[in-house]
């Protein structure tokens, strides 16, 4: 099992979710985050004081899938989230040693 953590541009959420649904991904957990990266931020003005804002709003998607799904999920996210412009985000893959469904106590792949 892997945890796929994808950081994407917020307005891409719908498309990514749509694409993943077709893969029969059963669950996604989404967090509002702020991202700092190569994409340059902007300047804000408050009564003549100028602030540089380096952190931009992003969404972080966490998806735990069985190992055999990993490649397809990554590819799908990449296609759906891509605009080709800087700041499109990253996908990180982490190993998950166990998963449990709280409702039933099921473990492993069947908990997803």
């Amino acid at each position: 099992m892997k945890l796929i953590e994808a950081i994407i541009k917020p307005f891409k959420l719908d498309e990514v979710k749509e694409a993943l649904s077709q893969l029969e991904v059963q669950g996604i957990t989404v967090t509002e985050v702020k991202g700092f990266g190569r994409q340059k931020g902007h300047t804000e003005l408050y009564r003549g004081a100028e602030y540089v804002v380096d952190f931009l709003p992003k969404l972080k998607l966490e998806i735990v899938v069985a190992d055999d799904m990993v490649e397809r999920v990554i590819e799908t996210i990449q296609n759906a989230a891509k605009t080709g412009r800087i700041g499109d985000g990253k996908i990180f893959v982490l190993n998950v040693s166990d998963a449990i469904r709280i409702r039933t106590g099921e473990k492993g792949d069947s908990a997803l």
């Binding site: 702020k34 902007h42 300047t43 804000e44 003005l45 009564r47 602030y51 540089v52 380096d54």
Partner: protein, 444 residues
């Protein structure tokens, strides 16, 4: 000023109380003197009408847009109070209320030339009449911004409403209230169904069409970012509207009382009716529906508030709910245009209904008119407004497009949000905003 015909037509009973001084004055009888009571009410009404724009309308619209665009809405309201306020005293008041032209007044009272603290307009200082009418000139152009919210550039917006005020609003105000051509027709428009709501609603529609829909419209949802703000806004519009409608009596008298009462009852009826429709049509009444209904009811009763009786006002409100609901939920979706916050559906359509209803349910037909001739006068004046306002607006927009370039923000700006793109600000900020003080800007 020629209030005479207006007075005769707008009052519920034959002998029009509110403006009878005008008739007297024209007839050369004893000059009216200052009434502190009327003045007190008109000062209050003026403040109430500003409350409608700031913060009423600003919040009503501001809550409905997405987080990234709320400041652009607030700023568009603020600047209307700024620029329209100046145009009004420079030339607006004079063009609307000085002179006898059929279509527009003259420039005799530019910069309020010749008016002093002791100049009267009826029983109130003319200064008070100037500012009361000025508050109307501030809110009317701002009403339009809802139609093209979340996509128009700030500069072109300011240019558009400035020219629109002079080319559309002021002539209509003169024609209807300044003794011009529509007043001669005998049309009833007590507080501005034609001048304010139809003019802005129909113009807003063409502006929305001309600018095109928001990116993603119809595919991505664009739900209101804060319904509580919208409800505060609707509530303050409601409260302020008493100044708008009952203030249009220009006196603290029975006509003001009637206008106040009908304003309340029409709005009550619209709120209840809309909730019932939603309950039947969708299973649940919504808060946004309630707030929208309130505004629709207020719009519809505006032209009618002094010509119908209390039962009539209930019908006006019920009709507003039915017709506006149908427009904003069915017709708009069918036609697919992106009138972001339903300015046309609420103000354009609601104003039209109100202008008709002012006579449909009239309590007493004015002298020299029959019910039929009065209806006919309404239809003519509705037709004139419904043609003139959008036609003039589209011409203004096309010319501005040629002079100023794109009226719309870039796609990137639209995605990023107008607050950042046009004003370099964010509405809400938290500790994780990740700002740093820049070198150029220094501390603050």
């Amino acid at each position: 000023m020629n209030f005479r015909d207006l007075a005769k037509k707008s009052a519920w009973i034959g002998a029009a109380l509110p403006l009878f001084w005008a008739a007297d004055a024209l007839a050369g009888d004893a000059a009216p003197t200052l009434s502190a009571g009327d003045t007190a009410w008109m000062l209050t009404s003026s403040a109430l009408v500003l409350l409608m724009t700031l913060p009423g309308l600003a919040l009503f619209y501001g809550g409905l847009v997405r987080t990234k665009n709320i400041l652009s809405v607030l700023m568009q309201c603020l600047i209307s109070a700024g620029v329209m306020g100046l145009i009004w005293i420079a030339v607006g008041y004079s063009l609307a209320f000085s002179g006898d032209g059929a279509f527009i007044g003259n420039l005799d009272k530019m910069f309020l030339n010749g008016i002093g603290p002791d100049t009267l307009s009826g029983t109130i200082p003319e200064f008070v009449f100037v500012i009361f009418q000025g508050m109307f000139a501030i809110i009317t152009p701002a009403l339009m911004l809802g139609a093209f919210a979340e996509r128009m550039r700030f500069g072109p917006y300011v240019a558009f409403i400035s020219i629109w005020l002079i080319v559309v609003y002021i002539p209509l105000a003169h024609m209807v209230w300044g003794g011009g051509f529509i007043a001669e027709l005998g049309a009833i428009d007590f507080a501005g169904g034609l001048v304010v709501h139809m003019s802005s609603g129909f113009s807003a529609l063409v502006a929305a069409l001309y600018l095109g829909a928001r990116r993603g419209y119809g595919r991505s949802p664009m739900p209101p970012h804060s319904l509580p703000l919208t409800v505060i806004g609707a509530a303050l519009l409601w409260v302020g509207w008493f100044g708008f409608n009952a203030g249009s009596a220009l006196a603290a008298d029975g006509t003001a009382g009637l206008a106040f009462l009908t304003t309340q009852t029409a709005t009550s009826a619209a709120v209840v009716m809309w909730a019932l429709i939603e309950k039947i049509h969708r299973g649940k009444p919504t808060v946004l529906g309630g707030a929208t209904a309130a505004v629709a009811g207020l719009v519809a009763i505006t032209p009618a508030c002094a010509s119908v009786d209390v039962l009539g006002s209930v019908y006006v409100g019920i009709g507003a709910a039915v017709i506006c609901y149908f427009f904003v939920t069915i017709v708009k979706n069918k036609l697919g245009y992106d009138d972001s916050l339903d300015v046309f559906g609420v103000h354009g359509i609601g104003g039209t209904w109100g202008a008709l209803a002012a006579v449909l349910f009239i309590a007493e037909v004015p002298d020299g008119m029959t019910w039929g001739s009065q209806i006919f006068a309404q239809i003519k004046s509705i037709g004139i407004t419904a043609v003139y306002a959008p036609l003039a607006s589209i011409i203004i927009l096309v010319v501005l497009r040629m002079v100023l370039g794109d009226l719309r923000v870039s796609d990137e700006a639209e995605y990023e949000g107008l607050d950042l793109a046009e004003h370099s600000e964010s509405a809400y900020s938290t500790e994780s905003s990740g700002m740093s003080a820049s070198h150029s800007g220094g501390a603050a």
